[in-house]
Amino acid sequence: MDSGLLFIGFIVAVALVFDFFNGFHDAANSVATVVSTRVLSPGQAVVWAAFFNFVAAFGLGVHVANTIGKGVIETNVIDERLILSALIGAIVWDVITWRWGLPTSSSHALIGGLAGAAIAKAGTDAVIGSGLQKISAFIVISPMVGFIAATFLALAISHIYSRQAPSTVQGVFRRLQLLSAAVYSLGHGTNDAQKTMGVIAVLLFTTGHMGGEFHVPLWVILSAHAAIALGTLFGGWRIVRTMGLGITKLEPHDGFAAEAASAAAILFATQVGIPVSTTHTIAGGIIGVGSTKRLSAVRWGVAVNMVIAWILTIPASGLIAGVAYLIAREF
């Protein structure tokens, strides 16, 4: 096997590891509410989420993968070193912010990495301005839509169930949380796995391993979904508590409203081909349901950290990727 193909195989493996850790890190978002309300045990909840992460491979399209592949940077500047540098930028930034405890988005880090490496290679003309602008707008739009939709849903639910016995409300929403967790995991699986698919597909396309037309091969779709599902499966209970209990205290009906609204926002973004942060979107949903009780019920520090993460992530991961590319170019 020639060394060029081995190098591409290595980059594909790095991309899948990035995808695995995305699932590992985000397992908490998918199952926190069903676990904290004791609808499922931690083990059952993680299997439930991982199953729907994988099922999302079928029938939800590859619009986000196409955006990552063709809509962020010009394909004629892409090569193996650029993709590897972009992944290094995203991974290093994820590790740094994990150490700092900053709730950053792997998706934004990947986009920043792609843009930074492309600028280091070919200047600012290599970046597709309109694509980056659209994605940047959704960094704010997506959690805000999660917030708005979750607020409406939480208000409607509290109005409808105001005269029902607490035991009935518990019974209904314990069942509905299974549904909302499943739909959220579908959204998380499809939007996040497609980012890795886009990176792998554009790497294969630009190195001549795909034929004349850009598309996402089936093996790429299945391996990206398998990686994120395995990551969720191994993410486990240790990091589950943060999301469900970190922002505001959740009851089963709150959990349902936050998850359903966030899932709808993520699936919507997926259908219009925009990569979004699933973590920030569900954080917006949780803040929405917390706000319907009273604004002081929300730990606003989490929201402030999220805004800091919005501002820092793309430039910082871009800078790391740019430096990584300048180093990689010498070899």
């Binding site: 708005i148 639910i157 019974g171 549904l179 709808a264 919507f268 009273r294």
Partner: protein
């Protein structure tokens, strides 16, 4: 058994109702995007979100 059936029926109705509540939010956003006004989508969503937060703040004071 009767209570369980009642809870399942309520769950189905609530799920349908949730879809009916969520759909208009996304239809409006899709409409904004389809007519190519990305520039308008951001201030519209943020403005509405802030307005909603303001209303909630007024409504929930003292709770």
């Amino acid at each position: 058994m009767r209570e369980i059936l009642r809870e399942v029926a309520l769950a189905v109705i609530t799920a349908a109702l949730s879809a009916a509540i969520l759909a208009p939010t996304f239809l409006i956003l899709k409409l904004l995007i389809d007519i190519g006004v990305y520039d308008a989508a951001l201030p519209a969503v943020v403005g509405f979100g802030l307005l909603l937060a303001y209303v909630l703040r007024r409504e929930t004071v003292g709770r």
